[in-house]
Symmetry: C5
Amino acid sequence: MEHQPGRRQYVKFTFFKLMPEWRRLAERERDRQLAEFREAVEGWSERALVRCYSTIGTRGDVDFMIWQVSYDLADVQQMVGALMGTALAGWLTTPYSYLSMTKSSQYVEKYSGPGRDRFTRLSLAPGEHKYLFVYPLTKVREWYGLSKDERQEAMNQHIAIGHTYPSVKLNTTYSFGLDDQEFVLAFETDEPGDFLDLVQELRPSMSSAYTETDVPIFTCVAATAAGMLEALAGKRQAVPA
Amino acid sequence: MEHQPGRRQYVKFTFFKLMPEWRRLAERERDRQLAEFREAVEGWSERALVRCYSTIGTRGDVDFMIWQVSYDLADVQQMVGALMGTALAGWLTTPYSYLSMTKSSQYVEKYSGPGRDRFTRLSLAPGEHKYLFVYPLTKVREWYGLSKDERQEAMNQHIAIGHTYPSVKLNTTYSFGLDDQEFVLAFETDEPGDFLDLVQELRPSMSSAYTETDVPIFTCVAATAAGMLEALAGKRQAVPA
Amino acid sequence: MEHQPGRRQYVKFTFFKLMPEWRRLAERERDRQLAEFREAVEGWSERALVRCYSTIGTRGDVDFMIWQVSYDLADVQQMVGALMGTALAGWLTTPYSYLSMTKSSQYVEKYSGPGRDRFTRLSLAPGEHKYLFVYPLTKVREWYGLSKDERQEAMNQHIAIGHTYPSVKLNTTYSFGLDDQEFVLAFETDEPGDFLDLVQELRPSMSSAYTETDVPIFTCVAATAAGMLEALAGKRQAVPA
Amino acid sequence: MEHQPGRRQYVKFTFFKLMPEWRRLAERERDRQLAEFREAVEGWSERALVRCYSTIGTRGDVDFMIWQVSYDLADVQQMVGALMGTALAGWLTTPYSYLSMTKSSQYVEKYSGPGRDRFTRLSLAPGEHKYLFVYPLTKVREWYGLSKDERQEAMNQHIAIGHTYPSVKLNTTYSFGLDDQEFVLAFETDEPGDFLDLVQELRPSMSSAYTETDVPIFTCVAATAAGMLEALAGKRQAVPA
Amino acid sequence: MEHQPGRRQYVKFTFFKLMPEWRRLAERERDRQLAEFREAVEGWSERALVRCYSTIGTRGDVDFMIWQVSYDLADVQQMVGALMGTALAGWLTTPYSYLSMTKSSQYVEKYSGPGRDRFTRLSLAPGEHKYLFVYPLTKVREWYGLSKDERQEAMNQHIAIGHTYPSVKLNTTYSFGLDDQEFVLAFETDEPGDFLDLVQELRPSMSSAYTETDVPIFTCVAATAAGMLEALAGKRQAVPA
């Protein structure tokens, strides 16, 4: 996907769950379906920004997640449609789905502390970190009743605490009017414990006090399309030596 | 559908979801079912105001939406019944359904700012914009405890902000006593990013502070009946060049 | 059902939904099942107060509703049991169910305004109006902390507004301790728009401010047992000329 | 079950729902399954305190309920396990389940009004009343912030109102830490209208104002194991003369 | 699993439910599936900290629970994946799933009362107690607005009450940012009545007043892998003499 400066992107997080009945199919049939699905994902990966994650073992209600970023909403629709056209889709549900867009942050622009350059909001660049933590966020309406200065102060505090955990990278996207939540946040890191400590440390912050909802929270483990799908079939589950 | 001045209309938004099991059927059978369903929709489109939208890729819990407007509730019932009489209905669920009516707005009538003529409430005229954003709205009861002047002032502010986004057209319908929500709002636009910015800008408004619930929010992409159904079967999903 | 003055009645609203799989059956089998179900309903209609309503097209989560009134709870149980004994029950679910009783209203007895005689609470007499609006109602506990005079005043206001819509008839029933809600309200009218306006007009009333929950709201269309069931099978859906 | 003074009992309310698919089975097969299930219940009834109730027609989400009381939690587990080992369990779900224990009430011990001896909390003795009303109860945390005297006063008021309905017998059980609710209450009576009036009369009481949740409420009709199961199959539904 | 001082552990509670359809399978097939599943569990038990619990009869929405503790999140993923690779997984759902980590407690470190040494937070050592009570915990945000001293005081009170029930052992784990809850608490004891009394006694405590949610609560009965699975099949349900 070619970078287009100044243009906003569509961002989609789609969480999939296999119906238990799929596991009753013959192994050969399951392998065939997974191979077809993998090809569909990989075909799109060549043309668009697509990232794969496994949630096997981290949640009970979803099995894997595909993260798409595109300048065109039709791309998002067409890729999900293509996946729904595979045989595997006969046993797939999508329990969670989050649509959002990128946007220049009013808070980051006015923030003058350290690490400012780590935030590039109009154009997402998902990295190669091992773990991704995703959750939808909605603030209480009282938050929007604060003055701009009060909100800026709260966000400065929030951003400053975030900077004390340089191993954690934040991607903020906006869903106002497009989906049920106001924001979708995606944190990348190699150290889940660091992210846990960061979230706990942010709890007393002013910004956190104005949170209406920030669940569900998804711990996602980065994988190739093949790895994500092998985990579904219990193939990668060799007990470690 | 002939325009009948001064008469209120029934408005229905029905969201459909295909069961995954449908995707296990032979392609020929699926094609046959989609063709039958399309004919049922198109037959009604000739006689009533019917609009088709795809939600593939924008949400995980619905696949497509049909918007009906009629002077007679029996029309709404009969069309939904006709759709339920197709073979496809054996694999269709309707996770969301919103029934409402048109009504002259007390607020718009008293509003004297710019753009007043863009609001025609008794008779809806869904346009040909590419995107539709639908959500049910219920105000907190405290809203109704405000004086009429206070509410008018809040709505003036709301309407004025809306007018700064002329690319967004609003259709307000009323559900008091007919369905779970108080209003169903439907925004038409060609620019999702504009609508996102508008909704975010409205957050600090007084009217927004008195919102009890405004979810789920559906991003719907306008389509012909054929296009809406082809998207279901993964046929339209040719990867763009 | 013989009228028994001074005796309280049991009231039951049962909402039914057909599983999509039913629509995959052969038409002959579906017709057979509907005929058997209709006979079961009609058999009871001769002996008890039973009313049939279609919700096809007005809601997505239910298809039809049966309203029973009896002096004996065993009647309610036996009729539902009889319906569950039909073949159709193999594809029927009951997503909503409301059990209540009649009771003399303390508020109506003390109300001295116009229209008092329209309220007969101990014995229900469902009319022949075309539309029925049903919803469960629970007040916030603070309502019960008001003095009796305050509550009487609130109800006088409520009743007076109701009387300005003479086309709407109210049936109030009581569920305290018998079911999840405190009341089940059933409004009969031939004009849905009137009922919508009435409910909207009641929003600023004191009584409305003390409402904990009044959803879901069901728009029900009166039908014979045969009409209610034909609507399920898509037979009545001839497009109007 | 032998009475063991001074020892606390485990109490279990299990609510069962048959899947609609069960009703598609041949009548002979259904009869066989019901007979096997009845034997499993009756076998336990000889050894432990087991009571059967039908909820056909009183709720839409459950069909019957089994009430177990035992000094040993293993008894509860083993009986439920035995029921799950029957053929009928292939079509049974358990939408609601409440686990609790008996406990001496601090409030009743200190209450000196009339009717005190009707409360025996450590050992339950379900009677032979026709109706049972069951619901889980959780108080708001503010309740526990009141002084002991304030709570005792509130409970005295509550108990005194209860005594004006001598036809209603209350069984209070405790679930703190064992299940989602704090208490499970089970009221026995032959007159549902009395219980309805009692609950409504308690609404203005101080104790009621501190209720966090007291739903769902189940109206249960006492039956033998055979009667409870016959009601499922639509056999007992002969229309009364 | 070798003890690694100073290193945090991943903790996973996975709750499983068998679909009713599984119980329609031939006994021989069910036995084969259970044996395969047991081997998968036992294979991991040799290499990692794995504990098995039955919830048959204590809840209606889950049948059994597996508790995993590991220094590596990949272990958790791989074991769940391995279980999903068994034949039994074709009929298994996972209605509840809690992921957390160990962490040194700021409160326990500063607590100087009795029993301090019973708390070892970085490394869990599930005991051999008969019952385990598990629940997810989230505090209200106001809790985090208290000063550190206020929170320490609240926790001192909480811990002190806990110590009066020496038969109850507490395992506290942390989920901030990893899963929907803030904490997952797991209490071990041989006396459910003691735990019930402890929870009730903690209700008036300051810490309890700041609880946002602490449900669902799971009563889990310790078992071997074989015993946990036999309970599913109704084999262990011999009526006690």
